[in-house]
Amino acid sequence: MSRLEIPIPNRAQVVVEQLYKDLERRIEASPSGLCPIDMSKAFLELCHAQTCGKCVPCRVGLRQLKKMISDVLNARATLETLDEMEETALSIMESADCVIGYEAANMVYKGLIGFHDEYVSHIELGRCNCSYQQPVPCVSLCPAGVDIPGYIALVHEGRYKDAIRLIRKDNPFPTTCGFICEHPCEARCRRNMIDDAINIRGLKRMAADFAGKVAPPQCQTSTGKKVAIVGGGPGGLSTAYYLQLMGHQVVVYEMLPKLGGMLRYGIPNYRLPKDRLDDDINAILETGVQVKHGLRIGIDITIDDLRNQYDAVLITIGASTDKKLGVEGEDADGVISAVQFLRDVGKGSAIDLKGQEVCVVGGGNVSMDAVRTAVRLGARKVTIVYRRRVADMTALRDEIEGAIAEGVEVATLRAPVRIETDNDYSTRGLWVRPQMISSIRDGRASVKDTGEGDILIPCTTVIVAIGQDIESQHFADAGVPVNRGVIQTGRHGGFDLLPGVFAGGDCATGPATVIKAIGAAKVIAANIDEYLGFHHVIQSDVEVPLPNMADRNPCGRVNMTEREACRRVCDFDGVELPMTEAECRQEASRCLRCDHFGYGIFKGGRETLW
């Protein structure tokens, strides 16, 4: 007879633990547009199943809440039911003994407040007003609406050139996005319900790698119309590409020596090799787009000049000025904005950081680009200074991990307070104030001072990466509506009072992603075409293969690998290694073809043209 026993989980418990994991992944892949009340009921049932049954409010009260939610869903409730639900939920929140009870009631309560209108509409209409919003999750979530299941199927068959052609119907930057797209498409990939999201971005990169050069389609008959595009970034060039294909003559005005905007002068070469960026830009230029370099809008040429010379004008100047820290000493020598810093590197006139110590302020992707670039420029020590924790950083996880692997220090919970300078006003260090993580507000943890003394991080360069602004003054002067520096367009990308003028990309949305700028470019290209009096359509003649009918057995996701950190910090060459063709095929075969199975075939279908 033993006095103590080592607990062994029973079989049922082991299976339930697996089911919890399945449920977690399933919730991750949850489509938007579901009835929030139906979901509340489902959550409540789960919560209620978790109750230990000891206390009245949790054991009985949650059951009563469930019945009342059912009444709402079954059109048997009145507005008084909502009052009763609120009182019951509050009572459970206030009187339950443990978290299982009071947080379950809190979930219901949050819904009663947060989607009160939905509750009322259910009661008044006697039916649900919601509808399923994501027939094909990846396509719905891609701002440009790229035919993802289509090109993955083409990759699976090894038809890489066709995959590029199909992507270009919606996105003329397949190679670039293959390297650096933030892939919102993967967020709710339904494959999560089996194992893990498809590596969509990786597959796009491989399509671009294996395809080689792919010529753009023929332009439609010339219309004789001319369109000026101010700014040769991803938004401007994408619009140029589609307008040129529609038969209009586009002239892009770019103040910098080369095209690409932030893709060339913001994103470092090790993430997006510039020769690969040129693959996309060359294909765009092959359509006949003309470029005028070196002219600054507002200085060398005005919007009114362009309006006189062209049938339509598009402003896509991006967001390329920096936000200031607003601390003492910010104008000292050695303090530089990340935008300027990265642009200098892109232009080949990088500052010398050999042997220096560098602080980079900020926790976004631009900050990661700056620290990893500083490492490659030979800095002895590079530190990310951030007010919050690593978990709160907005940068992609892979970027943060990449930076840390390359030897970057991370000083979290440190708020910059002033720049320490020496006699000739050169930077000697960054004073930071220790912070502690505090209460969660609007879903984000806030910070407050710990009360400890300020700390000096010695450094000779401070790079500020806390956001970007737009140079919008000239446009405001020309009558373009501007609010807080952001150009205010209608949903069609134009302006009611300035017919023929359109704006898009970062300058109209604030700093965003490449794929968002490309999505906006499609909208604007279509609307400029309509404005010019045409109804051209953009389509692809690539036929999408039939879905693979094999059973979908669980299979790991192929992730991209990277060069060794100690080697890659010595140069600016690409960090990410490609998949093998076998990996690529296997990954493509994991796609569930939501365009064919499920709701996709009914309401999603395939947009073969726009």
Binding site: D38, C128, L546, I601
Partner: protein, 581 residues
């Protein structure tokens, strides 16, 4: 060609065939519920599942294509077990009170249930009835709906109207009137295509047979019935009477036996319509009125509802001529009532139509001198006619050809083809030619406008009549119509005269016609009408003696003041709900 094996039978089928197509070629029918070729291939009902060798999960045969070397079992124990379970699940949410259902013995779910020998459903019945305005010409019973989504797809893809949509999410997903509207507040054109494509009895027309029986029974009322051209091409299907034998004469016999006092053929007023509409076209065309936008035909009430709600600014482009149904009603309550010495308020006019929208069209109140009322009092669909024949216990085999009543017994081949797409245009052109040149063309001179349900988008044709070029177009199906109008408005095409019929194939494919699930019968029915035209002794509306007589005795001449009062309408006199701004 692709080689595969289905149920141990090696076959070869064209590439791109679905498994279901391939099985059909091999003579193996696969049961199905939600599938509608080219319209609803969504694999929702899971009834057509088959087993594919090498794969655990079953696949739908309706929307998956064959591959080389596939081995398929359409009726393995696994397939049969799953198919049965699925149908049992459907039945748990279906009001299967079949005996009182309009689709009893013509219901795909009923057939499949029988074929699967389902005698008990293991699941609890969970019905979700929803309120519905039972006075609206289109009736929907939510508790019969099996959510096959066909109505949504037909309305959206074939008619381009989108009255139906999926509503709710999760287990509560269902079919609703789109945009949270009530049906009577919607822009439903009442084409009835959702009814004829419903596999069960969730959708049907409002049954008006009792109103007809009431009039027949009421001694004070004189009942006058008219029968539309397309009805003769379809009613026989219900009784298994071959098309050639299912004549208008037998319908007339049946209607007399049912008890109607006078029986007429709407072909008469189709000819009358041609006189009015044709004359109107010649007048508008000569004035240059059609240089920008064409004149549109106005005989299809589904189309009139469509143009009023979707393109209200084009309502003035419609011919002002009433439809044949309404013209006949007006003639009955004036000229004919006088002739037989009956006050119009004592006359009940009934029409048998292949159409649900006609039930809406009759609503407008009109004035006949001191009396106000409707041109037509009761509108019955072809399906309701067959139900009345059954209610009267008439053995269809006993029906004989009998003529219609005088003085409106005549009808021409031109009037008969009103029931098919292209027919109105052809009939109008035959008479317009005569009006312009003073002589008859060859009756088949305008055969180029003959169109079909399967034609691409629309059919255009240009004719020279005495050195004048007339550009015409014929379109059926409202999604096609929308594309045609959009092309007209963009200036990509120009026509002088456009015939629109809302239903695919024209009235022969109307929403009030007999239903045979999975079969589109419009083209075959259209052939019947064309044959009747070819065999007709008179093929020009302007040679219809009874029509000419009506003008002589009463209406004076086409477009006369009296004709305007009785045979023309004001399309702006009523409002269509949910009209686009």
């Amino acid at each position: 060609m692709v080689k595969l094996t289905i149920d141990q039978k090696a076959i070869e089928v064209p590439e791109g065939s679905t498994i279901m197509d391939a099985a059909n070629i091999a003579g193996i029918p696969i049961p199905k519920l939600c599938f509608l070729k080219d319209i609803n291939e969504i694999g929702a009902c899971r009834v057509c599942v088959v087993e594919m060798e090498g794969k655990d999960k079953l696949v739908t045969s309706c929307n998956n294509e064959v591959e080389e070397g596939m081995v398929i079992y359409t009726n393995s124990p696994k397939v049969r077990r799953n198919r049965k379970k699925t149908v049992e699940m459907i039945l748990s949410q279906h009001n299967s009170n079949c005996v009182t259902c309009a689709r009893n013995r013509n219901c795909s779910l009923q057939t499949i249930t029988r074929d699967l020998n389902i005698l008990d459903v293991p699941y609890e019945k969970e019905l979700t009835p929803l309120p519905w305005n039972r006075n609206f010409p289109l009736i929907r019973d939510n508790d019969k709906c099996i959510k096959c989504m066909r109505c949504i797809s037909v309305c959206e893809k074939v008619q381009g109207v989108r009255i139906w949509d999926v509503g709710g999410t999760g287990s509560r997903t269902g079919v609703y009137v789109s945009g949270n509207r009530k049906i009577e507040e919607s822009d439903c054109v009442l084409c009835g295509q959702c009814i004829t494509h419903c596999p069960v009895g969730a959708l049907r027309e409002r049954d008006d047979t009792e109103k007809a029986w009431w009039a027949i029974e009421n001694k004070k009322k004189v009942t006058v019935v008219q029968v539309a051209p397309a009805v003769r091409a379809a009613w026989g299907e219900v009784f298994g009477i071959p098309a050639r034998e299912a004549t208008m004469g037998k319908i007339a016999d049946a209607l007399r036996k049912i008890g109607f006092d006078y029986v007429f053929d709407t072909v008469f007023s189709a000819d009358l319509t041609i006189m009015e509409e044709g004359s109107e076209f010649v007048e508008r065309f000569s004035k240059g009125d059609t240089r920008q936008m064409p004149m549109f035909t106005s005989c299809c009430p589904g189309w009139v509802r469509f143009v009023k709600s979707q393109y209200p600014h084009l309502v003035s482009r419609l011919s002002t001529a009433k439809s044949p149904q309404q013209m006949f009603g007006a003639v009955m309550k004036t000229y004919f009532a006088k002739k037989i010495g009956v006050a119009p308020e004592d006359m009940v006019t009934v029409s048998v139509m292949p159409c649900v929208a006609k039930k809406g069209e009759r609503n407008m109140e009109l004035f006949y001198e001191e009396y106000a009322g409707h041109d037509v009092d009761v509108v019955l669909t072809t399906r309701e006619l067959t139900r009345m024949i059954r209610m009267a216990h008439i053995d269809p085999c006993t029906l004989r050809d009998v003529p219609c009543d005088d003085p409106m017994a005549d009808g021409t081949g031109a009037g008969v083809i009103f029931g098919t797409t292209g027919g109105v245009m052809e009939a109008a052109l035959r008479s317009a030619y005569y009006l312009i040149t003073g002589e008859n063309p060859d009756a088949d001179a305008f055969s180029e406008v003959r169109s079909t349900r399967e034609q691409p988008k629309w059919k255009e044709a240009e004719f020279r009549i005495k050195d004048i070029a007339v550009r015409t177009a014929v379109v059926n199906g409202l999604a096609n119509t929308r594309e045609l109008i959009d092309a007209l408005e963009r200036g990509e095409v120009h026509y002088d005269f456009v015939e629109v019929m809302a239903c695919p194939g024209g009235c022969v494919g109307g929403g009030g016609q007999p239903i045979k699930d999975g079969c589109e019968l419009a083209t075959a029915r259209s052939g019947s009408l064309r044959m009747l035209d070819e065999a007709a002794p008179v093929r020009f509306s302007h040679e219809n003696k009874a029509v000419l007589h009506l003008y002589d005795e009463f209406m004076e001449k086409p477009l006369s003041h009296k004709a305007h009062l009785l045979l023309h309408t004001d399309h702006d006199a009523w409002q269509m709900p949910d009209t686009k701004k």
